[in-house]
Amino acid sequence: MKNSDILTCFQCGACTGSCPSGKYTSLNVRRIIKDSLKKDISDHPDLWMCTTCYNCQERCPRGIKVTDAILSLRAEAARKGHILPAHRVVCKFLIETGHAVPIDQINMTKRENIGLLETETVRKYPKALKDVRKLLELTGFNGLIQE
């Protein structure tokens, strides 16, 4: 964990108290921050219950970038192969289509019905999609999400 600010955490719990997800789930962001200093928590399922709403980061009296810390912990988890199946699907969509949420027939019809033309995105421009795919390969993303 690079975020050295975390060492200044005095366990006040303001982060946990303002967490919308923690109200309903086992996510306890204060504990995550604390545990991340002592051990590898890459396989902790709670890491993925955060909506990245930034409440904790806004309210931390020590100015710790709490949400950013969660993002780093998630990246570490992903590198170790802890990727939820639903997220893998979204990643594959990106690689295949350049969109995390690609168009489908229902929405194509909706577009036609309100007089919208074909989208101007990578979908319409094969060379652009090729560029996107090449970048995903160069950054190692394809390898990262391989099962």
């Binding site: 919308p20 997800s21 109200k23 309903y24 789930t25 993925w48 219950m49 955060c50 909506t51 990245t52 709403c53 930034y54 409440n55 980061q57 806004e58 970038k65 949400t67 993002l71 998630r74 990246a75 992903a78 990727i83 939820l84 199946p85 639903a86 997220h87 979204v90 990643c91 990106l94 350049g98 969109h99 995390a100 949420v101 690609p102 168009i103 489908d104 929405n107 909706k110 577009r111 309100i114 919208l116 989208t119 101007e120 995105t121 990578v122 319409k124 421009y125 652009a128 999609l129 560029d131 996107v132 090449k134 970048l135 995903l136 160069l138 950054t139 190692g140 993303f141 990262l144 999400i145």
Partner: protein, 302 residues
């Protein structure tokens, strides 16, 4: 006024094209010079992709930004998620030389380079700063006497140190734009709370994400709102499709969900269908006749 590139992202063209239509109508009516950004990809979405790999996230975001640099236009987004990714990536790459070198190293191989010459704008802060609520107020043809539960959405405002749009506890600028349409932005408990969709939670843990949505909807309903207004297709999806999902568990709310572009479109005299609100999953006939009545009432006064 300069020209802007309209960046649509994924959810708007591919799930809520009505928001796309409304935005294009409204931008034209306001006299804003714009053209759609061609060849753009997913921003990429901050929840999943920023979480997984910063380098990938930055590189793909940079490519979208470069498409605007090549046109010499600022980028205009109508989604909080796209805003979050693109404004953050733009700032990071403008200020962090090492990351810029890393990212440009990849981009060189597709013949592109991030130069840091444009700004990323979100339609709400853009309308507030460049047009202003007062001007919009004057242009309104059909004042919409509605009680609106406004949802800013997390990533429009936060992290506040990066966004620099003021505080996140009592923001005002979006309320001003809502009220310029003739509507009343009503207070409600939990107004600044998250819709529950972000961070990849909706895609991987639907039930958990819906608990947060239900929390919001209960309070919005209790406050007596006619509709929810937001400026993000992901919040829009979460509230609109989310209500269909909640209804399956017997939880009925029937609160219509309206993107600000659509609200403004209605106030400028466009019909419910013109602004694509008939494409929502949650329909409320009472709301629809109220809009029709408000639009007619005003026409007869004139």
């Amino acid at each position: 006024m300069k020209e802007y590139s309209l960046y649509l992202g994924c959810l708007i063209p591919n799930r809520y094209p009505g928001i796309e239509k409304a935005t294009k109508l409204v931008l034209d009516r306001l006299g804003i010079k714009w053209s759609e950004l061609k060849e753009a990809s997913c921003c990429p979405a901050p929840g999943v992709f920023r979480s997984f790999d910063q380098n990938t996230w930055l590189t793909l975001a940079a490519r979208n930004i470069i498409l605007c640099e090549e046109k010499n236009t600022d980028l205009l987004t109508i989604c909080n998620g796209c805003f979050s990714t693109l404004v953050d990536a733009n700032n990071i790459l403008k200020n962090n030389g090492d990351l810029r070198v890393q990212v440009n190293d990849h981009l060189k191989k597709i013949g592109k380079e991030f130069r840091g010459t444009i700004q990323v704008r979100h339609i709400i802060e853009f309308l507030d700063k460049e047009i202003g609520a007062k001007m919009i107020d004057e242009m309104i043809e059909k004042p919409l006497e509605l009680k609106v539960a406004l949802h800013y959405g997390c990533h429009l405002l936060k992290p506040t140190k990066e966004r620099k749009l003021g505080g996140a506890e009592f923001p005002k600028f979006f309320d001003g734009l809502v009220e310029a349409t003739g509507a009343l932005s009503i207070p409600y408990e939990g107004k600044n709370s998250c819709c529950g969709a972000g961070g990849g939670v909706r895609s991987a843990m639907l039930e958990t994400s819906l608990k947060m949505t239900e929390f919001k909807l209960e309070r919005i309903k209790k406050a007596g709102a006619d509709c929810i207004v937001e400026a993000c297709p992901f919040c829009h999806l979460q509230y609109d499709s989310g209500q269909v999902e909640l209804a399956k568990a017997g939880k009925i709310f029937d609160v219509p969900v309206v993107h600000y572009s659509q609200l403004l479109g209605l106030a400028l005299g466009y019909s419910f269908e013109d602004v694509g609100l008939h494409l929502n999953a949650t329909r409320n006939p009472g709301f629809e006749s109220k809009i029709a009545l408000l639009q007619k009432k005003d026409a007869s006064i004139k």
